[in-house]
């Protein structure tokens, strides 16, 4: 390694894979972990201390549904004591009265609440959970009542892409200061459900117009982060800000990952916290070093002037579509198989017209593999 190793800035802690919702695009792996493989409170607290020592400034507490962890207040407190900025990423259902307030008291800094549809029926269809929509709105109100800033996360796909204007109005009415219009990333569960979720090109173009106009109109009122859809892109995203560059993910059992889908790259093996110290994993893990910086790149990335802008894009998407984790992300127009993205979009539209693509494989723990 010739490039200097930078300390990580942020960490996504998947505290559990348990979740009341069954969204068919969940970013958790298809092989979900059961509760008995989750790290205990003391181990998470030790991991958070090591993360702060290493330079982590922000921790995103996610899942599954992180509020299912009864020790969440204790975990937030441990992070707050170290001055780490804490962000709770929640589905906002089954949260008892008083819990949000208790988390705020423990030092929580921010809440990101997912909403699956701008109408109750869409939200219920996607999450496969009745009554969830009303609970989410109540959670949003409690977040604001506790004085916490709120981000609404709206995962976008064929079944709700026309609701983007209503998502914007909903987020405003809930007092959100940020809205993520996040087009689904086709990894894991979303890859299984790609034909059922992929929007049409026309809908994506309308969405871009709506979001761009709203960003201008709402400047200084609400920030809209637009996570654009890779399958319609010209250039790839700098996935995770570059592999193992300034962020990492920890799975419920303590497996430390460069991104939440990294285990789809079967040639890599990953270390668990506890067996090795976090700093050792960050610096020395073969999986972390596999795609760090630019030395691993092939053409056209290797000589591309954008190589340190997008870092070659998403390794997992390269694996899923090009069959080679070191290939250029096919979202890039310079990828030799970029045209395949358009074909996959067209295939999904054909499937939709023939009503073959509307059956979801819902996220279920019954797909779980027993912990080894």
């Amino acid at each position: 390694m010739t490039a200097p190793l930078f300390p990580p800035i942020s960490m996504l802690a998947e505290l559990t894979h348990r979740c009341p919702l069954q969204c068919p695009y969940c970013s958790n792996p298809v092989e979900l972990m059961k509760a008995n493989s989750e790290l205990d409170t003391g181990t998470w607290l030790d991991l958070f201390r090591q993360a702060a020592d290493l330079g982590v400034l922000q921790v995103h507490l996610s899942g599954g549904e992180p509020t299912l962890r009864r020790d969440l207040e204790e975990l937030v407190d441990g992070l707050a004591m170290r001055g780490v900025y804490t962000n709770l990423i929640t589905a906002g259902v089954l949260i008892p009265q008083g819990r949000i307030h208790a988390l705020a008291e423990a030092g929580l800094d921010h809440v990101q609440l997912s909403i699956q549809g701008a109408h109750a029926d869409t939200a219920e269809l996607i999450a496969h959970y009745r009554g969830g929509y009303e609970q989410k709105l109540e959670t949003a109100r409690r977040v604001r009542a506790a004085g916490l800033p709120l981000t609404i996360n709206a995962p976008i796909h064929r079944h709700n892409i026309e609701q983007v204007p209503e998502f914007i109005e909903l987020a405003l009415s809930l007092g959100a200061e940020r809205l993520e219009i996040a087009n689904v990333q086709y990894q894991g569960w979303a890859l299984l459900n790609r034909d059922a979720l992929m929007p049409s090109r026309e809908a994506v173009e309308r969405q871009v117009e709506v979001v761009t106009a709203a960003q201008e109109r709402l400047r200084g009122i609400m920030n809209i982060d637009f996570v654009t859809p890779d399958y319609f892109a010209i250039y790839p995203k700098p996935c995770m800000g570059g592999w193992a560059r300034d962020a990492f993910v920890v799975a419920p059992d303590g497996t430390v990952l460069p991104c939440h889908a990294a285990q789809t790259i079967r040639s890599l093996s990953f270390e668990r916290f506890g067996e090795r110290a976090l700093g050792d994993i960050w610096a020395n893990s073969a999986a972390f070093n596999a795609f760090r910086d630019t030395d691993w790149m092939q053409e056209p990335c290797r000589s591309c002037e954008r190589r340190e802008i997008d870092w070659g894009g998403c390794r997992c998407q390269a694996m899923a579509i090009a069959g080679d984790a070191a290939a250029t992300d096919p979202a890039c127009i310079k990828s030799p198989i970029h045209a395949r993205m358009r074909m996959l979009v067209d295939d999904a539209q054909t499937a939709a017209r023939e009503h073959k693509g509307d059956e979801f494989v819902y996220r279920r723990i019954t797909h779980a593999r027993e912990p080894v």
Partner: protein, 100 residues
């Protein structure tokens, strides 16, 4: 539909008394030996001039007084400082990182 007053974009004037919202924190990072601004989902690394402006954002000092103070600190004319300060604060207000 419930009628509610729509929030509006805040415009920074010389009479504004800017402050950081509760959920935006400036803290010194001993690992990187630099000041970081922590905000929802983002970390910023402001330069020295930006930090000097942010340090005056205590909610009790007007933009006019911040300009006077910075002109003194930099030994520059208020006119030279004013445009930069207002532009910076408007940009950060638009990102919801500064409360006017």
């Amino acid at each position: 539909m419930i009628m509610m007053s729509r929030p509006e974009r805040s415009i920074i004037t010389r009479l504004s008394m800017p402050s950081l919202p509760d959920h935006v924190r400036i803290q010194f990072d001993p690992i990187r030996q630099a000041w970081a601004v922590l905000s929802p989902e983002r970390v910023f690394w402001p330069n020295d001039v930006s930090l000097d402006i942010l340090r005056h954002c205590d909610g009790q000092t007007t933009v006019a007084a911040i300009i006077t103070a910075l002109a003194g600190e930099y030994d520059a004319s208020e006119d030279d400082v004013a445009a930069d300060v207002v532009e910076f604060l408007q940009e950060w207000s638009d990102k919801l990182l500064v409360k006017p």
